[in-house]
């Protein structure tokens, strides 16, 4: 079974695709638990990590995944590249193409940037984040974390809270969670909630306390200081008062709630330290699962043989 050639988003991924990736990720997790954390599945495959936006976490996670599968990884970051000399995205890809890459893992600030390069490459393309559009491997690692803790998705009540407008994580999570049968509620100040988000089949609210009630999964999003500077909410203090996840508020959710965050977290802005470090938090599990999920995606897209993975 295979996924097709690219992973551009979770929109359009079927439940069987998602299950395949998550099942494969579980097998990859076993590899990471071995004393020798490496298999030859993608030996001699060239993966280009094409990051046009700063990212430490996602890029490191992909790079580790590539190395554990024995792929050759090339890191290309915009700050040190020809992009600064005015080269276009398409020209960058046309040049890299002659290095015979097998896969691009690309992050870009513009939604849909991956669509632009598809006609110019023979390689697989994995979206590591395109503007506020999608970040499919984040949603998949979130799903792996949820499945490990909750056993499945059917009927789960999930709340995503924070800067919805600027989040690629939220869109990928909505598509995936809905496909898998979970219910999704979004919560944010009205200024950080684009109009018409409800058309994605989710509930939209601005009342955090109300929204928390009975939730099985609470996903907090990072609030960036620059949003305040742009006048989207009055102050971080007020934000924390209305939308910060404190221990007190945590009591409103289901007793078995798990707390997630794509990171990096802002302690005392969207989440209290006691919650981030507390027993309900699975934030660091997410980081760990990120490597497994990315190994699974690369493995499935680049067509490593069944036997090699089990090797």
């Amino acid at each position: 079974m295979s996924l097709g050639k690219h992973l551009l988003g979770t929109e359009g991924l079927g439940a069987s695709d998602i299950t395949l990736i998550l099942d494969t990720a579980e097998r990859m997790a076993e590899i990471s638990a071995r004393p020798l954390k490496k298999v030859p599945a993608l030996r001699a495959k060239l993966v280009v990590n094409l990051f046009f936006e700063n990212s430490t976490r996602t890029r490191s996670s992909f790079e580790i995944a590539e190395k554990r599968l024995s792929a050759d990884a090339l890191n290309f970051s915009a700050s040190t590249s020809s992009v600064q000399k005015g080269e276009t995205l398409v020209d960058t890809v046309l040049n890299l193409e002659r290095m015979q890459p097998d896969c691009y893992v690309m992050r870009h600030a513009s939604p849909g940037a991956h669509q632009l390069i598809l006609p110019f490459t023979k390689a697989s393309v994995v979206n590591a984040g395109d503007g506020a559009h999608e970040h499919p491997t984040q949603a998949l690692l979130d799903a792996m974390t949820i499945r490990r803790k909750k056993g499945g998705f059917k009927g789960l009540d999930v709340l995503i809270c924070g800067d919805i407008a600027h989040s690629r994580v939220v869109r990928s999570n909505i598509h995936l969670l809905k496909t898998m049968g979970a219910k999704v509620t979004l919560c944010s100040p009205a200024t950080l909630m684009p109009p018409h988000m409800d058309s994605l089949g989710v509930k939209v609210t601005h009342d955090f306390n109300e929204a928390l009630k009975g939730k099985d999964v609470v996903m907090m999003l990072r609030m960036q200081l620059e949003r305040q500077q742009k006048g989207l909410f009055p102050s971080l203090r007020e934000y924390y008062q209305r939308y910060g996840l404190t221990e007190e508020r945590l009591g409103l959710a289901s007793p078995e709630v798990i707390i997630m965050h794509p990171g990096p977290i802002n302690r005392g802005v969207e989440i209290a330290s006691e919650v981030a470090d507390g027993p309900c938090s699975v934030i660091l599990d997410q980081v760990e699962n990120g490597v497994s999920v990315r190994m699974a995606v690369l493995y499935l897209l680049l067509g490593g043989g069944e036997d090699e993975a089990a090797h």
């Binding site: 276009t88 939604p111 632009l116 559009h133 869109r171 988000m197 058309s199 994605l200």
Partner: protein
């Protein structure tokens, strides 16, 4: 020199004509319009089965010269106009230098004269260098040949400047054409704000950014009593307020583009920058409202907003791509395909929107009608033939159009200017 156009269906809204008639043209002018003319020694153009209409005028075109000749030149733009059935075009002043003085207007007219039979009607800028501050020398521009004023591409942001522009242009019986957009509310968006933008994560431009500015212009038009023309109306909200204003006899006219009556925001899901324009593609309800507005005359004219951009300029990330598409060679077929054949508007209304309305709005004498003694400008088209344009069929230097390699019902067969026939090649 005699030309006899035989057996065509003459649709001339100005005289209320819609019947099969022959037209005799002598020395570039109409000399007889009757049933079954015989004229010895005349060249005969057989228009059997075709519609013959007064020459179409596209009153919203970007010819890009001077300054942006990589995108389009006056010669290439006019070649596209001729192939698209247009006998005249009004060109917007956002060139480099801006058309804010007589010298630039004269340059455009000189260049046009030596490169094409298509008439060019330059639009001068409202403000010097499009800065939105000091008025351009309207009288000097008019003297040189400008037919209207606009800062198109940008709104006239200041209400005070817009008021002065309406007063000053109005005193010379000229219209101010405004690109209506509240730039702060639009906030650098690259598509319509709606369900599609919520899904795609692209920043949206709300419909309200258009209607807020239209309302302001209507208020100022009423205050000054002067003619304002609203460019490329794209929203139901916009159509609705213009309809009400017209009922209250505000001196407003308005236009719409083929892309705004043919396409919706859903197209943006492809992230193809040929679906990026300003105003952006809107919702299905907006498309229907624009069509209704064209049908009942709330929107007077159909214009292309022909906006050439070079291949490499459009081949970038969607939110970084420049706005606009070319439209001169697809406008007439799209109007036939999307408006006339589905019975959304009458053929007469379509001809009016392409010829009489622009002539009326711009005050072009002896244009937009068929009458003995005036220059013989005609657009001859078929409702049955189909248009299928490949990139190499496009006369513009730029090929940025979402309508290439698609079948569109309806086709321009020939453009006639001052009695000379320019057939459109299949």
């Amino acid at each position: 020199m005699k030309l006899l156009i035989k057996n065509g269906r003459l649709v001339d809204p100005a005289s209320g004509t819609d019947e099969t008639l022959d037209l005799l043209i002598e020395d570039g002018k109409f000399s007889a319009i009757e049933k079954s003319i015989t004229a010895r020694g005349a060249d005969v153009f057989d228009a059997t089965g075709l519609v013959v209409a007064p020459g179409f005028i596209d009153m919203h075109v970007h010819l890009r010269e001077p300054g942006f000749e990589r995108k389009e030149t006056i010669a290439s733009g006019l070649a596209a106009a001729l192939a698209g059935g247009f006998t005249g075009v009004a060109c917007m002043p956002n060139t480099n230098p801006v058309n804010d003085c007589g010298a630039v207007t004269r340059f455009i007219l000189d260049r046009a004269k030596t490169s094409s039979p298509v008439a060019v009607y330059p639009v001068g800028s409202v403000t010097q260098e499009l800065k939105g501050e000091d008025l351009s020398p309207f009288a000097e521009l008019k003297e040189a040949g400008a037919v209207a004023f606009s800062d198109d591409g940008l709104p006239v942001k200041s209400s005070k400047v817009m008021r002065r522009a309406l007063e000053y242009a109005g005193s010379m019986n000229m219209a101010v054409i405004d690109h209506c957009e509240d730039l702060e509310l639009a906030h650098g968006g690259s598509m319509n704000e709606g369900e599609a933008s919520a899904r795609l994560g692209l920043r949206g431009i709300p419909a309200e950014a258009e209607v807020i500015m239209i309302r302001r212009d209507l208020t100022l038009s009423r205050m000054t009593g002067q003619h304002v023309h609203i460019a490329h109306v794209s929203t139901k909200l916009g159509v609705d307020v213009i309809r009400v204003a017209k009922k209250r006899r505000v001196a407003v006219t308005a236009e719409a583009t083929p892309h705004h009556f043919s396409l919706t925001e859903d197209e943006v899901a492809s992230f193809d920058s040929n679906y990026k324009m300003n105003p952006p593609l809107r919702t299905k309800e907006d498309v229907e409202a624009v069509i209704e507005g064209l049908a009942d005359g709330t929107l007077d004219a159909i214009v292309t907003d022909h906006a050439p951009h070079a291949y490499e300029e459009k081949l970038v990330e969607f939110d970084r791509a420049p706005n606009g598409i070319i439209g001169l060679q697809t406008a007439v077929p799209l109007a036939i395909d999307r408006l006339v054949l589905p019975d959304k508007i009458s053929l007469k209304r379509m001809v009016d929107a392409f010829s009489c309305a622009p002539a009326r709005i711009l005050g072009l004498k002896d244009k937009g009608r068929v009458e003995s003694g005036i220059s013989a400008d005609l657009t001859i088209f078929s409702l049955r033939k189909e248009t299928f344009l490949k990139p190499q069929d496009i006369k513009s230097l730029s090929k940025n159009s979402p309508f290439l390699n698609r079948k569109i019902r309806g086709a321009v067969v020939a453009t006639v200017i001052a009695g000379a026939v320019y057939p459109v090649k299949d």
